[in-house]
């Protein structure tokens, strides 16, 4: 009976998690080598050579990486500062409920909100006009679909900051960090030393798997860059969708090259995350 349940569970794991990913990756790999696909005529390295000769894939990976790094740096830093300074009001009461609200925003809604908030015709621009900070709509800076991806970074920050704030507030509580702070203080450490030598290193170390996991999510995000980004450079997901879904069928193999490289990149990161996590299974 027990064995049957185990076999059924493993079968479901393979059906719903392992086989789809392997089958999808296998198809992408075969397509990228010209083995399958309507226009392909047999094994070739041509699409991989073309993909590496074309800078757009490399630029997309660098662009997505930089967006994820900047957004995470911003959210982790602000969450650390706010959780350490305002731990008491965040621990319980009104703010402990309030900070959950941004977590209810799906990426597409957050992107829509930031477009209505930061675009040239958005709320901030209108307030700037009414308060005579600007005198015409064109004087308002580009904050969405802009060169520096400010809109994308702010939207990712808006979605990830509450998560890290809750994480750090929880860690301070569950790891009893206040006791460490008191100990450091009684040993003569200054407030600055307590924050930079004790609190931040412990919190960063404990949250590293979550930071890495969030990096992968932001790296592969689609809705936010497609609504708030420019046509060049494109994020990895937007580039993959453009090459695989749009009109030029000759682009499809290159689209699959992008998906294979992306999957390998993610695999590498999961290995690091799992190493960091040191799985909490009992032997």
């Amino acid at each position: 009976m027990k064995n049957n349940t185990n076999i059924l569970s493993l079968a479901l794991l393979f059906i719903f998690a392992i086989i789809p990913v392997m089958a999808g990756l296998g198809y992408a790999l075969l397509y990228s080598f010209g083995v399958v696909g309507a226009l392909n005529q047999g094994f070739t390295w041509q699409y991989w050579r073309e993909a590496f000769a074309d800078n757009s894939i490399c630029i997309s990976f660098l662009y997505s990486t930089s967006i994820a790094v900047v957004a995470l740096l911003l959210s982790v830093t602000t969450a650390l500062l706010v959780s350490l300074r305002y731990y008491q009001p965040l621990k319980k009461g009104f703010y402990s409920y309030l900070i959950n609200l941004p977590l209810a925003f799906p990426p597409i809604v957050a992107a829509f909100f930031f477009f209505q908030f930061l675009s040239k015709g958005g709320v901030v621009s209108r307030v700037a006009y009414q308060t005579s900070i600007i005198h015409a709509v064109h004087q308002f800076p580009d904050l969405t679909n802009d060169t520096y991806s400010i809109g994308i970074i702010l939207t990712h920050w808006f979605l990830s900051f509450p998560f890290f704030l809750l994480l750090y507030t929880g860690l301070i509580k569950t790891q009893r960090l206040n006791l460490f702070f008191q100990l450091a203080e009684s040993l003569g450490a200054s407030k600055r030393q307590i924050i930079f030598r004790v609190a931040i290193p412990i919190l960063i170390q404990k949250s590293l798997p979550n930071i890495l996991l969030y990096f992968i999510f932001i790296f592969g995000a689609y809705e936010i860059p497609v609504l708030l980004g420019r046509s060049y450079p494109e994020s990895v997901s937007v580039l993959a969708v453009r090459k695989l879904q749009k009109f030029n069928m000759l682009d499809i193999p290159q689209g699959y090259v992008v998906t294979v490289i992306y999957t390998v990149f993610v695999l590498f990161f999961i290995l690091i995350i799992l190493k960091q996590k040191k799985l909490a299974y009992a032997h």
């Binding site: 719903f16 990756l25 799906p106 209108r126 990895v236 993959a240 998906t259 992306y262």
Partner: protein, 257 residues
């Protein structure tokens, strides 16, 4: 100086937590919103009235999203609970968990593009069942990872006691394991519901645009530049999560800790 910092903190929290919701609700009640007016020329509940009277197809999308999310959440929580138990006490638990991580962390839109061929071959593309299966490919691994921390020696010992005292595995499951895991089961259900409720990439690729869930509707309204209906869809998208988060925080987390 301390008062200034405190004021800044209050302002900061209100701006990031409350202003977005207020703006979305205000937009959903607006009619004309020409530059440079901060508020719309006039407010009207017409979009919301249309929703309740069925004058637009948002109601259909709302009900479809709700149906898909409920089925996906129930299925993923149940299946994930049992799979995670098998993995937790398996000799290859690290390797199996590594494989379970993959579909959950891959970009849903890229995963969908890789799987689209198989969904077309199986005649599942553009169908509600196809979208649900695609979402389960993401939700079940999440559920497995979520429960991975639950199974430990203490839980195993409780189940073993039931077996030692002559109880069946079913009895151990219904009288010990499920009551122990009840708060986690509910949280996992909420999280899987939200994964499905928020899902855009998988639904748009596998659903072929035919399965119009609320996130698909938001994107469609944005393309049509119909910001008032897009705002209404956004409000409908954030209302259940706000409610679930509140229940999650006020009831289940209190019970858990």
């Amino acid at each position: 100086m301390r008062i200034k910092f405190s004021l800044l903190f209050h302002a900061f929290m209100i701006v990031i937590c409350i202003i977005p919701i207020l703006i979305l609700f205000a937009l959903s009640f607006s009619k004309n919103w020409a530059f440079p007016a901060i508020l719309a020329d006039h407010f009207s509940p017409i979009a919301w009235q249309d929703l309740f009277s069925g004058g637009n197809d948002i109601r259909h999308s709302l009900l479809l999203s709700l149906l898909i999310a409920l089925i996906v959440a129930c299925t993923a929580t149940t299946i994930g609970f049992f799979i995670s138990k098998t993995i937790a006490y398996h000799n290859f638990r690290r390797q199996l968990l590594f494989l379970a991580y993959l579909p959950f962390v891959l970009s849903p839109v890229i995963l969908a593009l890789c799987l689209k061929f198989y969904f077309i071959k199986l005649s599942l593309a553009g169908t509600v069942s196809g979208v649900m299966i695609a979402q389960l490919i993401v939700a079940i691994p999440y559920s497995i990872i979520f429960f991975s921390g639950f199974w430990n020696q203490r839980v195993k010992a409780f189940a073993d006691i039931v077996n030692t005292l002559g109880g069946t595995n079913m009895l151990a499951l219904t009288k010990v394991l499920i009551p122990l895991a009840k708060p986690l089961l509910l949280i996992c259900f909420f999280q899987c519901f939200l994964i499905s409720w928020f899902e855009y990439g998988l639904t748009s690729v596998i659903g072929y645009g035919k399965i119009q869930t609320l996130p698909i509707k938001v994107y469609q309204f944005l393309i049509e530049a119909n910001i008032f209906y897009a705002a209404l869809s956004c409000c409908l998208l954030i209302m259940p999560p706000v409610l679930l988060l509140w229940i999650n925080k006020s009831i289940f987390l209190k019970r858990l800790y």
